[in-house]
Symmetry: C2
């Protein structure tokens, strides 16, 4: 029997996706060759790449709106750099909501003036700043939609007249948004989309070509757009598994369907955190993420007992990040409701025992 996998990322993927991925490693496309040993320019793999791109636009409701989709290597960490390399002419505005936003800011500083419009660093990133002003003369505004480490999530995005760039690594495809408000969205695959090793980029083509510096080929969005993500050999297997996961999501009913499931899972867990006197949430209630719930014990002496209980219940990946401590339950798209129920049962069992 599989474990209840609350890992923050790389994280749980749908069982049927894993089954198909495993088969493709032996025999892909009934062609008596492994997916790992065929040319990335062969028709079967070009079809995979095209289908992955089309599914991305379809699921986000961005078809025929001037967006291009790329699947690149290097993770969101490379996007921190590429976004600035391609878009930052003079100054850019960043919202600092946690470790990843902070890293994005650090990289962008190499390319121009950096305006930190607001930061929640004063309270260890346990809330999302609101009411900040974005300079109208900035080249773009950058934000992080969900903060995996701290467990906060932006519920309302600003209305802007400058391009909006968003790192959606840990909540893309999990909730309905007006994605057309964003000009550049990027996300490492290893949360709601696939295995580590590929990063999806959704970019409005008309924001490019406005910086004067020469951009190295591999860091230029234009290079990759002109070659349909095949300027160099893509991460074939991670792209394939991402395509399977996007297809799984579409077949289920897309983002509107999965958002309801995700809300149900989050409600179940947060209700227990609020009801059970042995637990407390870490972040401001209105900013709670429906993907990553952070919580602590009200009585630290119960730590060993609770840790034994959830491990016995075959729960995996519940320890909080070292910069926050306590616990973190990551409830990505593929996590079943019954896994959250198993965690809630364990919390109730601790209450009975304590």
């Amino acid at each position: 029997m599989k474990k209840h996998n609350f890992s923050a990322g790389p994280c749980i993927l749908p069982e049927e996706v894993l089954q198909k991925a495993s088969e493709a490693v032996i025999n892909f496309n009934n062609d008596d060759l492994s997916l790992l040993e065929i040319s990335h320019r062969s028709k079967p793999f070009v079809d995979v790449m095209e289908h992955a791109r089309a599914l991305t636009l379809e699921l986000l409701g961005l078809e025929n709106k001037g967006y291009k989709v790329l699947f690149l290597q290097g993770g969101a960490s490379t996007q921190f750099l590429m976004a600035a390399y391609n878009l930052l002419n003079k100054k850019a505005a960043y919202l600092n909501t946690g470790t990843w936003a902070d890293k994005a800011i650090k990289e962008a500083k190499l390319f121009g003036e950096l305006i930190e419009v607001a930061s929640s660093k004063d309270k260890n990133f346990t809330y999302i700043p609101k009411g900040y002003k974005v300079p109208t003369d900035a080249d773009y505004f950058h934000c992080t939609s969900n903060n995996t480490i701290f467990g906060t999530q932006i519920k309302e995005f600003p209305e802007l007249d400058i391009p909006m760039v968003c790192d959606m690594s840990s909540d893309i495809f999990s909730r309905q948004l007006d994605f057309s408000k964003f000009d550049l969205i990027y996300a490492g695959a290893q949360k709601n989309m696939g295995p580590a090793g590929t990063t999806v980029i959704i970019i409005k083509e008309d924001i490019l070509g406005k910086v004067e510096r020469t951009i190295p080929s591999m860091l230029s969005y234009k290079t990759h757009i002109s070659k349909d993500s095949m300027f160099n050999t893509p991460a074939v297997f991670p792209v394939y598994v991402s395509m399977l996961t996007l297809q799984w999501l579409k077949d289920l009913g897309g983002i509107p369907f999965i958002e309801k499931v995700n809300q149900k899972k989050a409600d179940l867990l947060y209700n227990e955190i609020d009801r059970n006197p042995l637990f407390q949430g870490v972040v401001a209630t209105e900013d709670r993420s429906i993907m990553n719930a952070t919580f602590t014990l009200t009585n630290e002496t119960l730590k060993d007992t609770f840790d034994s209980l959830w491990k016995e219940a075959r729960i995996n990946g519940l320890n909080g990040h070292r910069s926050v401590g306590g616990y973190r339950a990551s409830m990505y798209n593929a996590l079943p409701l019954y896994s959250v129920q198993a965690l809630v049962d364990t919390m109730r069992e601790l209450e009975r025992k304590a």
Copy 2:
């Protein structure tokens, strides 16, 4: 039955490696979780990464010689950029032996003066230039050990007093060399090492820290060395399959063993190309690659017949690169001798039929 896979890359991998990789996608380390859904910071995966690094140094005979091994995303194409970003202060010397060397030169030009010490572009890269002089005041010399597209291979490397950088993407782990002559070796995994999506970098640490520019975190070798290739989430699955392939090679007897097998395969095919009046080799005999053999028909009207013959024989991936034409047989480490025999049999059959 599996096909005879002569694909130029991504390419054939050992069957036992594919079997283990397929199983790990369902259940890794007997832990009832997929390799794709566990944290890259969990002990089982950290062990994989450490083992892959140790095997790399052991197979190349580079233990305890001041080298560090990295497994990064982005392919050799990103290394074209990183090598220059990290090492090019004023000028660098490059040997131009084909498409990939040409691309490496293009990226390096953004960072300083570029001396092309020699080029075989005049004859469509069908030979390896010799007798060139490398400026002693260059920051480093860069070469490409094997030219996948054209089928040439450097047999003797220059003796230099400046750092030597080598793109070994298509022949690393295939032949014995004094690897300690090189200060930086890089190779995309998708030939002799694993699936697309990871790149091995072997670097002598003391060549770093000599340029004045600020290097973005993701492009800095120092960043990745200080974090043991875990500055950001690595390409978990490609690294795992690479580790399995390196272990397979070690168990067989390492590079000394596989070099003999590779030489036997290359001799079998090149002897037939030279003997059979219907075929001719494309490149200078002394520069022939033992990995990628390029050849053409002496009589183009036999093309359809030959193409039918090899396809009937379940041979895959024999078409030459569009910039060369004709045929290319890639004979990487995992290709069995009987696959080369199957190709030779087909060439003889054409001779009988013609």
